[in-house]
Symmetry: C2
Subunit: 354 residues, 2 copies
Amino acid sequence: ARLHRIAVIAGDGIGKEVVPEGLRVLEAVSQRFGCRFAFDHFDFASCDYYLAHGQMMPDNWKALIGGHDAIFFGAVGWPDSVPDHVSLWGSLIQFRREFDQYVNLRPVKLMPGVPSPLAGRRPGDIDFYVVRENTEGEYSSIGGRIFPGTEREVVMQETVMTRVGVDRILRYAFDLAARREKKHLTSATKSNGISITMPYWDERVEAMASAYPAVRWDKYHIDILTAHFVQHPDWFDVVVASNLFGDILSDLGPACTGTIGIAPAGNINPERRFPSLFEPVHGSAPDIAGQGVANPVGQIWSAALMLDHLGEHAAAAAVVEAIETVLAQPHLRTRDLGGPLGTEACGRAIAEAV
Amino acid sequence: ARLHRIAVIAGDGIGKEVVPEGLRVLEAVSQRFGCRFAFDHFDFASCDYYLAHGQMMPDNWKALIGGHDAIFFGAVGWPDSVPDHVSLWGSLIQFRREFDQYVNLRPVKLMPGVPSPLAGRRPGDIDFYVVRENTEGEYSSIGGRIFPGTEREVVMQETVMTRVGVDRILRYAFDLAARREKKHLTSATKSNGISITMPYWDERVEAMASAYPAVRWDKYHIDILTAHFVQHPDWFDVVVASNLFGDILSDLGPACTGTIGIAPAGNINPERRFPSLFEPVHGSAPDIAGQGVANPVGQIWSAALMLDHLGEHAAAAAVVEAIETVLAQPHLRTRDLGGPLGTEACGRAIAEAV
Ligand SMILES: CC(C)[C@H](C(=O)O)[C@@H](O)C(=O)O
Ligand SMILES: CC(C)[C@H](C(=O)O)[C@@H](O)C(=O)O
């Protein structure tokens, strides 16, 4: 049977509660679909690790997990003990950059049983992907401060876009659009205001589009695009965006479908030179951590994205179906969705549905 | 009687149709409230002007309008003939920067008769301000391109925050929050990802907050903040944000209240060293321009913001009331809101209500 070696990193807060449910579902998958998983658990990339070692990860972290087929990740961050920019830049953002996970893929889908804050939308109405550039752009570490502590203080940070970086994310997004039924790509820009990097982004989109005559494409400035997400979420199929714009759109999209607590993300190196990382969109949620009430669906849906990446397409589809089956039944939902179940019981229900 | 000297710039597209309705309402205000207006009309800051003169504005534009008490502005941009970054950076963004209009003030309010895309929200539920920094931050003109046209191509653009620039917008926002009933300020940040400028923004917010003990404040990363705008718009009172984040939030907010076509903006120099500029949030709308169907409410609501800035508070309140009265009556609405009226008839109705 096909063996997949998975590095498991639960991280902080509810990450430690939802990851085991993801593993439970993967074990069910293994029984039904005949693939095998070897899970190696790691305790770094967590604030507990930081408090014990003064850094988020051991120096040899790349050697420890760089040979795995994928990383199954919970959540990182515990702002009461470690500032977010320290914990995130010392772990998640390192993984994305050092393992060249240049695609951040986030489905936005209206699911049964999940109330949407938008009026009159039904499951099936909203079903698109946000494809986010995940390594460069606005998330650069270039910049600094001059005249600190004085009235003349100035702080600068550089946005950096490279031809290689922009073209490869656009190619991934156009490829995805070309495989889908609607074949429609939307580019997020702000070339009327961010007058140097964003006109360049537009230029590359136009160049790339000429290689995909079957894909219909358009672009919107990010300000009005956020408005369209709320007013016309049915317009979208594949939305491609820079690192920051993709970050915003991939929270806003799930908010519009009511699924922010259950949405998944794939941080993908499509060439498989490095392991890709799969995680729920939600964070470590200190406010509910340790109570066994967190919704495990985001973590389990992330497992489905991981299965797809590993070539286990039938298993991936079965997991998404199992999620939909469970969400459609009020007595199988967790409390955030008005149901009676805790984290573990919900995970068991989905594993059984698989 | 108090005389206000107003520079009127209609600009492009539907700007030319809605500005006259704004002036009509201001004339009604003048009759009822006894203030007087001197309107000087200018044809620059439009793409027509660009096509005739090769630049968006005459060299002496500052001398022409710098002495006025305010600028009443329609909309600029006609992308079929002039690229947006040329038309906008050559006009609106010049005004904001050269006239030091460092506050962009945008009310977000659920109005009667305007359908919100959010389920179950009623007029009164949503009523807050976005206070956007309007001169620096992500909208800098520093940056460039190296190795153009090659695989090594790199494009960079600097975000620039100054102590002076950050502190003055925060002071304006805290002052506004302190005057309001809820006394609640929310700061938009992204210090977990944009790791140099945004932690600085947070630092200054914290420092400023200590001078306003009566104001309750919190902060959210921009990604989850856009989600909260959709899911909990009733949480907000005054939201302060950098140039780019404010741009996004002030389109998203009105989208959530269904008012994106009617929302106003003030580009304000609070010290009145330079004229402030008042404009609708909507653009020149090439798709409906020239048909007499544009909704003039955004322009008229901008007139109300201008009246407030000019110290005509009773008149400002009367204009907002007149707008609400008219919007509450289905037969007085424009077509975008399901009513029968064109631009001019709607303008007349509001002028009469004043
Ligand atoms: C047209 C554009 C440059 C402008 C901006 O981004 O500031 C607009 O979106 C606005 O909000 O006034
Ligand atoms: C935690 C933060 C640094 C991160 C990001 O901005 O990329 C998160 O919001 C995400 O979307 O994965």
